[in-house]
């Protein structure tokens, strides 16, 4: 992974098996399974969407997409934060696509002798994901970069550039905290504590987020990672603070 580019992904799961051919990616990843010739009526309002009727393996359990991730830009660079609770589902897809993307970025760097910009990376990822639209691939990445860009890419095909993004089941809670207090002029410490607070509040309310919080700070000079913090401690501190306010 280029030291100047950082990606947040949804969760972690054991690695997929790969074949030796096609440089490690099984061929069926690039050719979605063929659709049923006869269209059935159980799909959405659009009558001709055979891409959604591909023959799939029956899953042993329903997929869920639980996590909270967030990223925002301020005067001191880009902050990225996420919780660490792993839930089945998008995790495997995200791991794989992150590796594919890393490989493509490195290939570009070798071929063209310059680093791919964040926008270029986002466009590349978006085009790579497009053949899988309508299948069960679920990937949502927030790309944070040294050129002070923040881009959200997801497997639906959305590609959005902005100043603040939060993704995952806990994202509405995180937005609630961030939207109130985020300003461009925050100092580095204030920004970090805001990100921590947002993830903490989201993990408190959202059942599918929790455990620890990972925090990254990206600048033009590189990225730095904070020590992983257990949110359980944060919760006890918050409880104590509240009882002090009530008593005092």
């Amino acid at each position: 992974m280029s030291s100047q580019l950082l990606q947040l992904h949804v969760c972690k799961l054991p690695r997929l098996k790969k074949s030796r051919r096609n440089s490690g990616i099984p061929l069926h990843f690039f050719i979605p399974t063929l659709p049923n010739p006869a269209p059935s009526n159980n799909r959405s309002l659009f009558p001709y969407s055979p891409a959604n009727q591909s023959v799939t393996v029956r899953r042993p359990f329903p997929l869920s997409h639980g996590t909270t991730t967030l990223g925002f830009i301020f005067q001191g660079g880009v902050i990225a934060a996420a919780d660490t609770r792993a839930s089945a589902g998008g995790g495997a897809d995200c791991m794989l696509w992150e590796r594919i993307l890393t490989r493509e970025i490195r290939l570009y760097q070798l071929r063209h002798r310059r680093c791919l910009s964040i926008r270029g990376t986002a466009k590349l990822l978006s085009f790579m994901l497009h053949p899988f639209k309508g299948t069960e691939v679920c990937v949502a990445l927030t790309l944070c970069g040294w050129d002070k860009d923040l881009i959200y890419v997801c497997s639906d095909g959305a590609r959005l550039q902005g100043d603040i993004f939060s993704v995952g089941s806990g994202s509405p809670y995180a937005y609630g905290v961030l939207d109130r207090d985020l300003r461009w002029s925050l100092s580095k410490e204030e920004a970090i504590s805001l990100a921590r607070e947002a993830v903490f509040r989201a993990t408190h309310r959202d059942a599918y987020s929790g455990n620890n919080v990972d925090l990254f700070h990206v600048t033009a000079q590189g990225w730095s990672q904070r020590k992983r913090e257990d949110l359980k401690e944060e919760y006890y501190r918050d409880m104590k603070r509240k009882t002090n306010i009530v008593e005092g």
Partner: protein
């Protein structure tokens, strides 16, 4: 959830689109631009399914620019609209149809202004005024009532403001800002954004 509107005058076309990029219940962006510049005097407004909009619109945009590079002159709005419709129709019965609703607005030096309405089933209609989205249900009757073919620019902008006002009053979702652009023989002009406080 998204809203597009176009009003054609005697020598201009006025178009507006909302600025919200949403993902289920969250507004991910408040300043998202849904208009794609196909050429100096043609704009494509595109709404619909998340990735399809950008993919399809950029595909059309690059092809129109390629035509100019190859042939030395630009496609007319009518030709661009028909090209877009043909592409939509070709993909319609493929494995990957594009679920997008479009408005194409342009000014042709020979034929004058033109507004073309296209939907995801690749129907194409040249219309004096048009709208897409749930907001269209609320605003088309206003356009029916107050539209005249000889509107001046200010009158067209007032008509647009009436429509936006109605959306603010009756539409369940909060679309708090709209990008507004005007196309005439001089090209594409950015007008002031219509926001919640504007009157």
């Amino acid at each position: 959830m998204e809203y597009l509107i176009g009003i054609q005058g005697p020598d201009f076309v006025l178009v507006a689109a909302d600025n919200v990029a949403a993902s289920s219940i969250i507004q991910m962006k408040h300043d998202y631009d849904k208009m794609f510049k196909l050429s100096e005097k043609i704009l494509l407004l595109c709404v619909g399914e998340a990735g399809d909009t950008v993919q399809f619109a950029e595909y059309i945009q690059k092809n129109v620019q390629l035509y100019k590079m190859r042939n030395g002159y630009e496609l007319s709005p009518s030709a661009a609209a028909n090209f877009t419709r043909k592409n939509l129709a070709d993909y319609l019965r493929s494995r990957t149809p594009y679920h997008v609703n479009l408005l194409l607005a342009g000014y042709d030096d020979a034929d004058g202004p033109g507004l073309y309405y296209m939907d995801y089933l690749s129907s194409l209609a040249k219309a004096p005024f048009a709208a897409h989205g749930y907001g269209a249900f609320l605003t088309l009757s206003i356009l029916d009532r107050h539209y005249r073919p000889d509107l001046t620019r200010d009158e067209a902008l007032d008509l647009l403001k009436k429509c936006v006002e109605e959306l603010r009053k009756r539409f369940i979702l909060n679309l708090h800002s709209f990008t507004v652009r005007l196309i005439d023989k001089e090209g594409i002009h950015d007008l002031e954004k219509l926001t919640a406080g504007a009157k």
